[in-house]
Amino acid sequence: MAEANASRPTKANATSRQDQKQADAITGLTLVAPAVIIFVVFLIVPLIMALYFSFTNWSGTRPLDQPDAYEFVGFDNYERWVVDGRRVDDFYRAVRNTVYYVIGVVPIQTALALVLAVIVNQKWLRAKSFFRTAFYFPSITSSIVVSFIFLFMFSTGGPINAVLDAIVPNYENIAWTTNNDGIFHLLIGNFGITEDTVGLWAEAEIFDIEVWDWIAGPSVALTTIMALAVWTTTGTLMVVYLAALQGIPSSVYEAAEIDGASGFEMFRGITLPLLAPTTFFVITVGLIGTFQVFDQIYVLQNDQTARTTTSVAYLVYATAFEGTSPNLAEASAIAIVLFIIIFIATILQRTFVGGDQANT
């Protein structure tokens, strides 16, 4: 039909084809319109507004219809928080906490999700749906509720310490939720290495934070929050892996079996490569999610641990809504910087973790 039209074009045919194209376009646009409108209104517009207000001094409360609602201050907000202003130490401390959090959580939750998915995908496993539900359960529970349960479990006199006390001889209760000591500091402290013994370089300051503090590692309190995060998100990622696993045709495994491949060889040679696109997805989602960690921090931090547990996303919230003079413009600036950090991290990950494979 198309060939016939092409070989002998007539005016009528051309018009009707054009009509058809137009109609298709309209149908297509109509079908994607709801998604596009939602995307633009709730994501693109707020993003542009945040960018816009980050260059102003708008407090967030002064009515925007007033002529003096705000003034443009250029890069002042960025300078104050990110370059060399009074709040750079707060910002970079939050960056440090967040980076430790990401580095700790993403690999563990990805590996754990994969292992769990492979286990619950085994044919010989009984009560499969029980395990699947059990692993997935933390993900569908409200993170605020889960955080409170963790707070109870990890409290100084709570079940975790009680269990450890029963198992470990001479165990001294650990203040899981309030200890500010970095775990790297604690580790090297065992070998007698402290700030006083390592030399003067440790006292040098980068962005108003001592090098020694940069390399502290996540604090005990932050590590507890990281454990919570791994526990809650692994289930979701496991389901993603599970769906991908079930998409691998069994004939591939059967062929490998005939060739005499062992279980581990099949896992390494078939499962892992075929799951690469899924792994890329899981790591990307994990990176973005962990860089934006907020609710667990909101519940689990307190005055004692604020300095070692505040994440960048939490800092955005605190700057916009807490304290004596909340400031939405400054919060927007931090949020934009966070956006840039996540953007760069995702691109790096795409380059190094095989985003190209994901595309094929």
Binding site: S59, T61, L151, S155, G158, N180, Q304, T324
Partner: protein, 409 residues
């Protein structure tokens, strides 16, 4: 065709006239917004509104009790379309006042002199009172009577000094209990700060946050922890002072009257009392106050403004304060004339909270000093977790304030 146009015009005219006449009889609608607190308190707010509407048939109140008040009202402010009457916390007051959101109170407020002086200061700017305080809370010293008796020492008295308090903490410290639960919160130790005669700024406006009396007050607060007779609530297996005190991990702590309901509900067997904070080496007492006010929107004009002030006054005048007192939940009525009535409702044993109102200070950092506020938080945390000594920490915070002052000039 022409007839039809005439008909439409006539109908439209009639409708306009009709709506105008109806409008005159229609009550004025005043939007009232506040944050959600305990169910009892929310119910009380609804009763107050109902009572107002019954007494004032010409005004209708459109009440919103928001569970996320801070965010919701800020969004409303930004849009420029915000309620006529709303609550303002003391820490938001400087910003909101400066943003021009609040109508000037002064003569619109009924019998303002009856409101506690500290609360008038908290809601004043440049000598003008903007909004009448709704209710407030003060810090006081909570003590565990059983712990004091077990240690064989006297309960806190009228003339208790800092040294007496420290000695009591030492005496009541046992294996299971420390003498004092000391949160790493500047809005606890600063009660001692003000008692000792310290100030954020001295009379000349110079930063005095690291003055000797200031250092002395934080050193005293910290000494409970460093000497082993006190601990941070987190280390006592508690989320806050009140919990540590309630579960018997601390013999004393500093909290406000919001702890009354919590302690009596959650720990009914706890045998506790409350005293005014002890006398500082300066010979004075001090405590911190936390309050909210009912403000009227600067955008309400004419009849609407009058109606809005009638609503705000109804909630806060002597009658309104009497209702707060008789409702008898945690917060205290903001007027001196009804303090005793509140005690009658809630119990005379809590008189220390009311007595503190005489000298209480609302610890508000002035506009533009947000970084100083943050630095003061950090200083408190560093000192209480033992990471820095008091003089250095306070000096660092004070330096921030001095830097801001220089920039402002």
């Amino acid at each position: 065709m022409l007839n039809r146009v005439r008909l439409i015009v006539a109908v439209a005219l009639l409708a306009t006239i009709a709506s105008l006449t109806v409008a005159q009889d229609d009550p004025i609608v005043v939007r009232v917004w506040t944050g959600s607190s305990s169910p009892v308190e929310n119910e009380f707010k609804e009763t107050q509104v109902a009572a107002f509407e019954e007494a004032n048939p010409d005004i209708d109140i459109d009440l919103l009790i928001s569970p996320d008040y801070g965010t919701q009202i800020r969004a409303a402010f930004a849009s420029g379309d915000y309620p006529e009457v709303f609550t303002v916390g003391q820490f938001d007051f400087p910003t909101w006042q400066n943003d021009g959101l609040l109508a000037l109170g002064n003569d619109n407020i009924e019998n303002a002199d009856d409101i506690y002086a500290g609360l008038r200061d908290a809601f004043s700017a440049d000598g003008n009172l903007y909004c009448p305080a709704k209710d407030f809370s003060n810090l006081a010293l909570l003590y565990n009577i059983d712990a004091f008796e077990a240690a064989g020492i006297d309960l806190p008295t009228e003339d208790w000094t800092w040294d007496d308090m420290f000695a009591a903490a030492e005496a009541t410290t046992t294996e299971e209990m420390v003498g004092f639960s000391a949160a790493a919160d500047k809005f606890r130790w600063m009660a001692f700060f003000y008692a000792n005669g310290a100030e954020l700024f001295d009379e000349d406006g110079a930063v005095a946050f690291d003055s000797d009396v200031a250092i002395e007050s934080l050193e005293f607060y910290q000494s409970f922890v460093t000497e082993g007779f006190g601990a941070l609530p987190g280390d006592l297996n508690a989320g806050w002072n009140g919990e540590a005190f309630g579960q018997g991990s601390a013999a004393m702590t500093i909290e406000g009257n919001w702890a009354i309901g919590y302690l009596n509900d959650t720990f009914p067997d706890l045998n506790w009392g409350v005293a005014e904070l002890p006398i500082a080496p300066s010979g004075e007492r001090g405590t911190l106050t936390f309050a909210e006010c009912w403000a009227v929107s600067s955008r309400a004009e004419g009849d609407l403004a009058d109606a809005a002030w009638r609503v705000a006054n109804f909630f806060t005048n002597e009658e309104g304060a009497t209702q707060v007192a008789e409702a008898g939940f945690g917060v205290m009525p903001a007027r001196t004339s009804v303090g005793s009535l509140w005690l009658e409702t809630i119990g005379e044993q809590y008189s220390a909270f009311v007595d503190g109102a005489e000298y209480a200070i609302a610890p508000i950092f002035p506009l533009g000093f947000a970084d100083f506020d943050a630095a003061a938080n950090e200083a408190t945390q560093l000192v209480m977790t033992g990471e820095e000594d008091v003089a250095d920490a306070l000096e660092e915070a004070a330096e921030v304030a001095r830097e801001i002052q220089e920039e402002m000039e």
